[in-house]
């Protein structure tokens, strides 16, 4: 099936006018599959890290949200060991008015503001709740270990 005009448009815009700290490039053989990098936001334990993600636009997109997953290991209460992300706009709060760019910006924002009250990785969330400092330290360690190249 031909690629919807919307996806083409979004891709063009991502390439022409990338969001700061974010890159997204479609695979040549599958234009619905994107390689994404997000820089860890300044002031967060993920600062200096470059996180690789994969993003896939399902058939129903934009009526359904894109599927996004961290490929780089990250110590974050809302992201589990498999890289899955707990973010409302990727689930029930999705709206077709959102775009790839807005999704990635939201993820970037999630790195700045972890939300341990709505955890996905429960152990990390517990750690963040009990001893936020120590947890941030681990996050930083992981960032240096896995997300610096």
């Amino acid at each position: 099936m031909a690629l919807p005009k919307r996806i083409i448009k979004e891709t063009e815009r991502l390439v022409a006018d990338p969001a700061p700290g974010i890159t997204a490039a479609p695979h040549e053989d599958n234009l619905r599959y994107f390689d994404v990098t997000i820089q860890g936001p300044d002031g967060s334990p993920f600062q200096q890290g470059v996180f690789h993600l994969e993003l896939f636009l399902p058939e129903e997109y934009p009526m359904s949200p894109p599927k996004v997953r961290f490929l780089t290991k990250i110590y974050h209460p809302n992201i589990d060991k498999l890289g899955r992300i707990c973010l409302d706009i990727l689930k029930d709060k999705w709206s077709p008015a959102l775009q790839i760019r807005t999704v990635l910006l939201s993820i970037q924002a999630l790195l700045s503001a972890p939300n341990p009250d709505d955890p996905l990785a429960t152990d990390v969330a517990k750690h963040y709740k009990e001893d936020e400092k120590d947890a941030q330290r681990v996050s930083k360690e992981w960032t240096e270990k896995y997300a610096s190249n």
């Binding site: 448009k9 009526m63 359904s64 709060k93 008015a97 959102l98």
Partner: protein
């Protein structure tokens, strides 16, 4: 032979009576078929055989039980009269009108049975035998020649053999009798046709059930056949001494069984003095044709109807015919009798060499296709002849060339004829030609040439002179008889070609042969066929004389009616007959065309020359008096009625005691407009049409063949174009070969059509090479559309369900039984393509009916503003945003839809937040949310819930002509001042509707006063279209079958009115596809496709016809990957059929294999 015992006690009686009685019965029956002359009532018991059951399906039940009648007659012979009265009381009251005779008077032949009866006592046979003793024949001498067995010739049989030993049985020179076992013993093994049952074989009550049952069963096994052919030789004392050899007896037995011949005065030429078993005998057989042979053989003569449940019967009939004709052929060969002219004249040499072979082949391949050959008979008349076998392709080519040159001559250089001055319009050249043609078809003088030409299937034979004492009287006038080698019929009457047909088919393809250049030239553009037929009515206006011939023939026509009705109407007719012959014309047309006919007829006639009455509606006059009325003044009476009225009158008539004046009047001429309305010969309409009594019959149609070749048959039946009007004949010679993929079938159709069909097409050329009609160009485009996501889902689910259903039925082999069910599923699919609402329940509020306040859903911007400020006082910023949105509506032209990221084509505002999206995007999103069970919210701000019908469409009228358009929204002054208006989304559109609306918008931009016609076959879809047009604020007019005549006429005239605004006429394909003249429009939109392209083309030709001055644009909307593609495929094949049949003159050569291939697929698929 258990029957023999049953019969023993009465054997003598039966034996005696059987022969003559059979003859008499048969000849009486024959008189019905050929019946020509009324005879006085008679109380004779033989009357009881005169049922009129020959041809109508309804009579089938009567057919199935002819036995009781025959048996009653037997009883009557034995003096028992009471029972028959009980059985068929109606016969007694019936006037004798039916039993009529041309050849000899019935009573005469009836009386003749009594001497024979007396004779019978003298010769008590050992076994019931069919005898042909000279004595019996003598009993009948002095009667009409037709009853007298006539000498046909004699021949020697060299190897008859003896069955006895001893001396004294026979000596050379002795008279021999030729005997057959009584036919009773053959049971149904004897080829007794459906009506042959009436042959009143000696019979008794006990056997009746059994025989009847046996007859309805299939053919008896072949083993009985051999015994059947035994022909015994007996001496004058009645002792059997020998038999005829098998190769002779095989056909002689048939001839005897069918009561075709007598062998009297046959002698033994040579035999041994002492006979022993198997001894060779040489016998000379003298053949005399019996009178009964010249009555039509049961089946072929009257074309007894074949209904679905009677299929088995038909093959039996066919066998009868086959055996009869092959026996006759063998006989003619044996006595060396050759046709003087007609079929087989030229291949007599062939017959000498290979006739044995030929006969065998004819017998072996009865159903096989007959090759045809054209021979010249008389003064250049071409006659179609069946060759026995081998006819090379080269010869066939010659035939085509001949035919095509003749056809061309016919078509182009046909003479013209001017109408009389009571006809006020001027005809075009081709119309004058048509008039000439029709006139010649109607008047007998012109067809004088045809009168001498023999019926193409018959051949003429001369009776050889009978040697009397060895001297042949050469002074005796040559007596002729006729034989039809195809049906096995014999006749003493000259079989005229097209003897009954007065009329024909006028195939005014796209009925647009209209241009009449008259006093008021181009303004008055009427229908060509109306004009041509009006001219015909004026030209041949004299009443036909009352011919005894014709009255009788008309009687035969009314045979479909139930008995009592026949006689009642007959009685009425008789009352009127003396005054004058029929002069009135009846026109039967679809309801929608009645007024058009009326107008055109009036317009084309000088005042007072034509009295036209539309016979329709509640207050229909009694037509009884019309003929007498029209006598008084000089005007011609024309009655116009509809098929519906005719059918209902007919059913009224069929009800016991019902009467209908329309069937009692004998019309001079009946014209069927759009004659394909009666294409199914079993339909009520068709039967009603067949029941009309008329001298001249015309069928006008654009599509003589709509779906199948048999469509043509019903027209032929109406026209009474024998022999093709007989269904069994048509079936054996056309349908079956056609089904067997035999291209000859199509050739036969061409031959038929050539003689009775005048084809006028707008792209035909006249003799100077000009097109007979110049029409502006017609551009047809097909718009292939794609479903929206939601529509695709709905369609797919219906399709999958239907397919599953079909596959299951198919696997179980139940497709045939559930045919209507499958058709219903297909119908549903076709609706689903048009609009989802046509297949789904619309309980969710967004339906076909606008729920809004005004019919086009337009709302006022100010009202909306007020609403916002009232409801959203709390959130000031939102209200401000909303206000700015509304204020900027007319400027923010290229806003991007947040969903598709494209410029919004049809922006929709989501209340109350006033965010905008494309209409399609937001609707599709709302649908997804609903599917997932989520509350639909605004995609931009998540405010919800959002309902589809709350959406507000923003419509911008673009283009320079906007001021004109605004005038269309006449009532909505408030919104029409602005270029932008808002509309509630309270109507669900569909792919096709959107496509239509977009096309109309574009059209309006180009031509603010356009006129367009929109066709659909679904009136429910027409309703949706009308809503969509309302929303576009386009004026529309509707024409469909549910509207009464007045409303329809009003719609048309309003549409035609000259106004400075665009107008759309939405028409149901079935109601408006024919006849209407809509040349004021030049844009046609076909919303759906019909099974055959002919119907569609006819619809398009409402617009593309004489009087059209602009190019006609036709647009078909087709949704990709749906059932519509299949329909188009089928359409193409159907076009192939019709073209093939019409191919006729322009190309010589054979049916090309491609088109045949096409046909194959149709018949295998559907």
């Amino acid at each position: 032979m258990t029957y023999d015992q049953d019969f023993q006690p009465r054997g003598g009686l039966f034996f005696a009576g059987s022969d003559d009685e059979d003859d008499d019965v048969n000849s009486t029956r024959a008189q019905i078929g050929v019946s020509v002359q009324p005879a006085p009532p008679s109380g004779s018991p033989h009357e009881k055989r005169l049922f009129f059951a020959d041809s109508d399906e309804e009579e089938i039940p009567r057919f199935q039980t002819p036995r009781p009648i025959a048996i009653n007659s037997e009883l009557v012979m034995n003096g028992d009269d009471g029972e028959s009265d009980l059985e068929i009381p109606s016969f007694e009251e019936v006037p004798r009108a039916s039993s009529v005779s041309s050849i000899s008077s019935g009573p005469d032949s009836l009386r003749s049975s009594s001497p024979a009866l007396g004779h019978s006592g003298d010769e008590p046979p050992v076994k019931k035998r069919r005898l042909s003793p000279p004595s019996k024949v003598q009993a009948r001498t002095g009667q009409a020649s037709s009853d007298h067995p006539t000498y046909l010739g004699s021949f020697l049989v060299g190897n008859a053999w003896s069955t006895v030993r001893g001396k004294g049985y026979i000596k050379p020179g002795d008279t021999v009798r030729i005997e057959r076992d009584d036919p009773d013993d053959f049971k149904s093994g004897l080829p007794i046709s459906g009506k042959g049952k009436k042959k009143a074989l000696p019979d008794n009550g006990k056997k009746k059930q059994l025989t009847l049952g046996a007859m309805l069963k299939s053919q008896p096994p072949k083993t009985t056949k051999k015994a059947d052919t035994v022909v015994r030789l007996t001496n004058d004392r009645g002792f059997e001494f020998g038999r005829l050899p098998q190769h002779v007896s095989s056909w002689i037995s048939r001839l005897l069984d069918f009561r075709i011949v007598d062998f009297k005065g046959s002698t033994v030429v040579d035999c041994p003095a002492t006979l022993h078993s198997g001894a060779d005998l040489i016998v000379s057989l003298s053949v005399y044709v019996r009178a009964s042979a010249f009555k039509p053989p049961s089946t072929s003569a009257e074309g007894s109807p074949k209904t679905m449940f009677n299929q088995g019967q038909e093959t039996q009939d066919e066998q009868t015919l086959r055996e009869r004709k092959s026996a006759l052929l063998s006989l003619f060969e044996a006595v060396n009798l050759r046709p003087c002219r007609g079929a087989h004249v030229q291949d007599s040499g062939n017959m000498e060499n290979g006739s044995d072979d030929m006969t065998k082949k004819l017998t072996q391949h009865p159903g096989g296709a007959k090759k045809k050959k054209i021979e010249i008979v008389g003064d250049g008349e071409e006659v179609e002849v069946e060759e026995g076998e081998e006819l090379s392709d080269n010869e066939l080519d010659v035939i085509y060339k001949k035919r095509s040159s003749r056809a061309q001559k016919n078509d182009q250089s046909m003479t013209e004829m001017d109408p009389p001055n009571t006809f006020t319009l001027t005809l075009r050249g081709y119309q004058k030609q048509a008039l000439m043609w029709m006139h010649s078809k109607e008047s007998s003088e012109i067809s004088a040439r045809e009168a001498v030409s023999m019926h193409p299937l018959w051949s003429e034979y001369a009776f050889p002179a009978e040697p009397q004492d060895g001297v042949i009287d050469l002074t005796e006038a040559e007596k002729l008889f006729y034989f039809n080698p195809y049906s096995g019929e014999l006749s003493l009457d000259f079989p005229k070609a097209e003897r009954k047909l007065k009329g024909g088919i006028l195939a005014v393809r796209p009925c647009n042969l209209c241009a009449v250049i008259g006093a008021d030239s181009f303004v008055s553009v009427g229908m060509g066929k109306t004009i041509m037929l009006s001219a015909l009515i004026h030209t041949n206006r004299d009443p036909e004389p009352i011919l005894p011939d014709d009255t009788a023939r008309d009687l035969a026509r009314t045979r479909q009616l139930k008995l009592d009705n026949v006689f009642r109407s007959r009685a009425l007719g008789q009352r009127k007959k003396p005054t004058k012959g029929p002069s009135a014309t009846l026109i039967v047309a679809p309801t929608s065309l009645l007024s058009q006919w009326h107008e055109e007829l009036q317009r084309s006639s000088a005042p007072g020359t034509l009295s036209v009455t539309v016979w329709h509606g509640q207050n229909r006059l009694n037509l009884d008096g019309i003929e007498d009325d029209s006598m008084d003044d000089a005007s011609i009476t024309v009655i116009i009625t509809s098929y519906g009225v005719l059918a209902s009158e007919h059913s009224k008539l069929l009800k016991s005691g019902g009467q209908s004046s329309i069937f009692q009047v004998e019309w001079l001429r009946v014209i069927l407009d759009e004659a394909h309305h009666c294409k199914s010969r079993t339909s009520k309409t068709a039967r009603a049409v067949y029941a009309l009594r008329a001298r001249r019959r015309w069928a006008v149609t654009g599509t003589p063949i709509v779906n199948k070749l048999e469509d043509l048959h019903s027209l032929l039946q109406f026209l009474e174009y024998t022999p093709w009007s007989l269904y069994s004949f048509f079936r054996s010679f056309i349908t079956l070969p056609f089904l067997a993929r035999d291209p000859k079938a199509i050739e036969i159709v061409q031959v038929i059509l050539e003689s009775i069909l005048l084809r006028r097409e707008k792209n035909m050329r006249d003799n100077s090479g000009k097109r007979i009609i110049e029409l502006p160009a017609k551009e047809v485009t097909v718009d292939t559309l794609q479903f929206t996501f939601a529509e695709q889902k709905i369609y797919d689910s219906i399709y999958n369900a239907a397919k599953r259903n079909f596959d299951q039925l198919n696997a179980k082999g139940l497709v045939g039984k559930n045919y209507t069910h499958i058709l219903a599923m297909i119908m549903r699919l076709r609706r689903a393509v048009l609009h989802p609402d046509l297949v789904t329940d619309t309980s969710d509020g967004i339906g076909t009916k606008p729920s809004g306040h005004s019919k086009d859903g337009v709302i006022d911007v100010d009202t909306l503003m007020n609403d916002i400020s009232e409801h959203d006082l709390s959130s000031g910023s939102k209200a401000a945003y909303a206000e700015s949105v509304l204020a900027n509506l007319d400027t923010s032209n290229d806003a991007e839809c947040p969903i598709c990221l494209d410029v919004m084509q049809t922006p929709s505002i989501i209340p109350p937040c006033m965010h905008q999206c494309c209409k399609e995007c937001i609707i599709s999103y709302l649908a997804t949310c609903t599917d997932k069970g989520e509350v639909p919210r605004c995609p931009t701000c998540s405010q919800g819930p959002v309902k589809e019908q709350d959406l507000i469409e923003v419509l911008r009228s673009s283009g320079q002509d906007s001021p004109h358009q605004e005038s269309t929204g006449d009532e909505k002054e408030g919104t029409s001042t602005s270029e932008v208006f808002l509309r509630r989304n309270d109507f669900r559109s569909s792919t096709k509707l959107d496509a239509l609306v977009q096309n109309l918008r574009r059209l309006r931009d180009q031509d603010p006063y356009f006129r367009a016609i929109v066709f659909s076959q679904f009136t429910s879809f027409l309703s949706l279209i009308s809503v969509a047009l309302d929303r576009e604020r386009l004026s529309w007019y509707r024409f469909d079958g549910s509207m009464d005549l007045k409303k329809r006429n009003a719609a048309i005239s309003e549409f035609k009115q000259n106004e400075r605004k665009p107008k759309v006429l939405i028409v149901s394909l079935k109601a408006g596809g024919v006849g209407l003249n809509l040349t004021s429009a030049n844009h046609v939109f076909m919303m759906d496709c019909w099974w055959n392209a002919a119907t569609e083309n006819q619809a398009i030709d409402r617009v593309h016809r004489i009087g059209q001055e602009k190019t006609v644009y036709v647009k078909h909307f087709i949704v990709d990957h749906t059932i519509e593609g299949r329909i188009l495929q089928i359409q193409k094949r159907k076009t192939a059929i019709v073209k093939e049949a019409f191919r006729g003159s322009d190309k010589s050569g054979k049916a090309n294999p491609e088109s045949l291939e096409n046909l194959k697929v149709i018949f295998s698929d559907n």
